[in-house]
């Protein structure tokens, strides 16, 4: 069964059709990458999935439930974790408080339990030794990891990562790939990514958006061999 699916999902900004009639199905447990050239509508599409941008038309279904009209905070509580494209941690708050904020609503005010889960999440992404720093004092790469720890602490059914490797050094990207691989199987992951290497090494399947529509969908090998995708990216044909 699909964990997340959309039907005829569209978003128009005036005359611009940023996303047009997208039918999308994400099976439970899959790591799916969403790629496409700049302006393909990736951010708008994901915005409609997470509730940040209202849809002009169409439906979003999560676990078989129509959530098109639900506000973002309810979708998050239903099991959809979202990390921002531009690093967006609480810079003036401690690392631990950042993670605690992400999941305090799950522990119902039980601070001991909150603390335990915070430590667990930080440990998972490998920044447990930074727990007492202010989030703003972390390096950029560590801030990105903190974002992911915040998502993980919610124990989500779907983890949406919006351009997680943007601005990371090569060595950090290698660690990130290892982290995603370790998470696969525990949760469904939707990865919006520019770095083709990361996509090829982590995704079970790839959806290619172009001009607001689904251009192609398939395994990494199929996508690599797809002539239409090559044309969209390289401008040939």
């Amino acid at each position: 069964m699909s964990l997340l699916s959309t039907r005829q999902l569209s978003r128009h900004f005036g005359g611009l059709k940023a996303v047009e009639n997208v039918d999308f199905d994400l099976p439970t447990g899959q790591v799916r990458a969403l790629i496409g050239p700049n302006g393909a509508g990736k951010t708008t599409f994901v915005g409609m999935l997470s509730g940040r941008i209202p849809a002009s038309n169409g439906q979003v279904m999560f676990e078989g439930r129509n959530i098109t009209a639900e506000p973002a905070h309810r979708r998050i509580r239903a099991g959809m974790a979202y990390t921002f494209q531009i690093t967006s941690v609480f810079g003036r708050l401690p690392v631990t408080e950042n993670v605690a904020l992400a999941m305090r609503w799950r522990t119902g005010g039980d601070e001991a339990e909150t603390k335990r889960r915070v430590a667990e999440s930080l440990d998972r992404v490998g920044i447990a030794d930074r727990a007492d720093q202010l989030a703003g004092d972390l390096s950029y790469g560590h801030q990105r990891l903190l974002e992911i720890a915040m998502g993980l602490s919610q124990d989500p059914r779907l983890l949406i990562l919006d351009e997680p490797t943007q601005g990371l050094a090569d060595s950090e990207i290698a660690d990130f790939i290892a982290l995603i691989r370790s998470l696969a199987g525990e949760m469904t992951i939707l990865l919006i990514e520019h770095n083709i290497n990361v996509v090829m090494q982590t995704a079970d399947a790839i959806t290619v958006l172009n001009s607001g529509q689904v251009l192609a969908e398939g395994t990494p090998d199929e996508i690599r061999a797809n002539a239409a995708v090559q044309a969209a990216y390289l401008g040939t044909g």
Partner: protein, 314 residues
Amino acid sequence: MTEIQKSWALHLGVIALLFALQFILPAYHHGSLARVMVLTCYAMGYNILFGYTGLLSLGHALFFAAGMYGLSLSIQHLDWTAGPALLAGLATGFAVALVVGMLLLRTAGVAFMIVTLMFAQAGYLTVLYFGEWTRGDEGFVIQQELRRIAGFDLSDPTSRYFAALLMMAICIIITLRVVQTGFGRVLVAIRENEERTRMLGYDIQRHKLAAILLSGTMSAAAGAAYGLLFGYAGATFASVQYSIFPLLWVLLGGAGTVLGPFIGTLFMFYLIDLSSELTTAYMLIAGLVLVALTLFAPQGLVGELRRRTLRWLP
């Protein structure tokens, strides 16, 4: 001691110190301190919204005046006793905060400030318009024999001091509880990054409305207490000047700190008091000190203390 125990010890210590001061202070300062403590409650109400939630209101006099008139009009024209009238003041503040809050939720940033300013202005004009009951700018005195609760004569300096202290203690405890619980943490998160907080699963509008209600009601409680303890209600308390005061007090003392409003109010009160003894141009001295503080302690007195040494201060 854990940080939570430390902060309880500090704040309860401050309350105990103020309690003890009652017995040694000379009459003049005794009276001043009672006034400062009531106004501190106003500043603390303001601080919930501005310091913790990051919403800058330019119209809090609306809530202060709602409390003051809710109390004084029900004593003056409905012949209520002080106890029920105090509750009427609180209820008026809550109701005004609810109505204004619902409308404020549709605004953000500069629009939020302008709308609060406009509502407060409308409130001020309403007080003047119904001059027949409110006596407008001139105001009216609440008779001494009507200012009694549970047998205590609140015009008596000692009872007045204790009433003011009790009220401030309640406000301190409420604020401390708020900042220690998940609700207060979410308010801080909204101040720091609203969109991120929303995308962590929090209903921003509900939290903001709750902050406005708490802030407005606390400010109204201060307004009602001011009327009751000092026996006067006038339109000045609804004017724009009284919307700016809490902002100044909170900024000086330290926005987003529990004790900041008290320190700020106390500091400002004595700054004006002492400088006006020296010269008639006391506003010049006050202004210069304020400029210096803004330059050298931009986070306010308590905020600066927290930044430099006491990182755990709530």
